[in-house]
Amino acid sequence: MAKKEEWNSVTRRDVLKLAGTAAAFCTSFGFLHGSQTGVVVQDKHLQARWQQAEIKWYAGSELLNSSVIPVKVMKHLQSDVDATVEIKLYRAGQLLRSLGTIQAKH
């Protein structure tokens, strides 16, 4: 039991409990953006899937180059399971050919 005079102050434990409860309620009720409630949120598996995506260039079976996909492209594919991205090959500003379409759900 705390001494009477200790109740006249705020302890660090109080602050931690307050911050923890506020954080929990913020997340549980979706209060993060104003008073928003009841939002079924992002498809976290879609996000994780595209975070690991890479583009690889091959000459036969030899890997020539590998790079992660650009952030803007990744965010678009993560945004919606029905999102699509077309890849097109250009030279000197002129379209040579379309290399195909990537669907977020792939």
């Binding site: 006249n8 660090r12 109080d14 307050l18 549980s28 009720f29 104003g34 928003q36 409630t37 009841g38």
Partner: protein
């Protein structure tokens, strides 16, 4: 996502219980929803939080393939007590800065078998989903949340929160709480655990623990409000004496 719909907007949604919508989602749960589901399963909220939640007790756990932990081949195991977000789906709901309620329609997953049309209204859809008690509890917990943010704001203004966050004593507290995974598994706050927090409160107050869900939630809100009353009075006193914050 645009929240441009209201209760008069047209919507009809017939769920075919295909389960696709229950996959790959983060299902947020409040303490009152945890209580409802734990009662249905015949376990305590403490057990429920440990077994079925992640992210500090704020979201339902998912299986490795992304399915909600409660989805089975025959449907949802907690359907009669399912959380608000599940009842609202495919809608999202928010209260904008002017206090007006708005809704957004989420794009359905491509495999979803549900029938979506414009024959009814959002109002009628919400009635079929029994959302009103959940919205009322969200509103009441929201009021408590705003008081918490107000208190934290006061503490920050005084520089107290920063001081506490960098203090040696608090570092030791956090370390003793265990690795990150353990923090993630356990609830962020005892207040998320209605059974445990009400047991403590009722013992201190000499009250009987309520048996009904609605009564328990009401008492839970009252207990949190009294805790905040106490903190507000103490913070008021601290404001007059900036050196007063102590370590426990």
């Amino acid at each position: 996502m645009e929240f441009h719909l209201d209760r008069r907007s047209t919507l009809s949604f017939v769920c075919k219980a295909c389960g696709y919508c229950c996959t790959g989602k983060i299902i947020m749960v409040g303490p009152h929803e945890v209580l409802g589901m734990s009662c249905l399963l015949g376990i305590s909220t403490s057990e429920f939080l440990a077994l079925y939640t992640d992210n500090g007790g704020t979201t339902l756990r998912s299986e490795a393939d992304g399915r909600c932990v409660f989805v089975t081949a025959s449907g949802c195991r907690v359907h009669p007590q399912r959380p608000l977000v599940c009842r609202l789906y495919p809608l999202g709901r928010m209260i904008d800065e002017t206090g007006v309620e708005r809704f957004a329609l989420y794009p359905l997953q491509s495999e979803c078998k549900a029938e979506v049309d414009r024959e009814g209204t959002i109002e009628a859809f919400l009635k079929t989903q029994g959302v009103e008690p959940y919205l009322e509890w969200s509103r009441r917990y929201g009021e408590l949340y705003r008081r918490m943010v107000g208190l934290l704001d006061q503490l920050c203004v005084q520089g107290k929160f920063d001081a506490a966050a960098t203090g040696a004593t608090e570092s030791a507290d956090l370390e003793s709480a265990g690795p990150e995974q353990e923090l993630d598994r356990g609830p962020l706050s005892l207040w998320q655990d209605i059974d445990a927090s009400l047991a403590e409160y009722c013992t201190a107050q000499g009250l009987a623990v309520p048996g009904e869900i609605d009564e328990a939630i009401a008492l839970h809100c009252r207990a949190i409000a009294e805790w905040l009353d106490d903190l507000e009075s103490r913070i008021g006193e601290v404001r007059n004496d900036p050196e007063e914050m102590r370590e426990e």
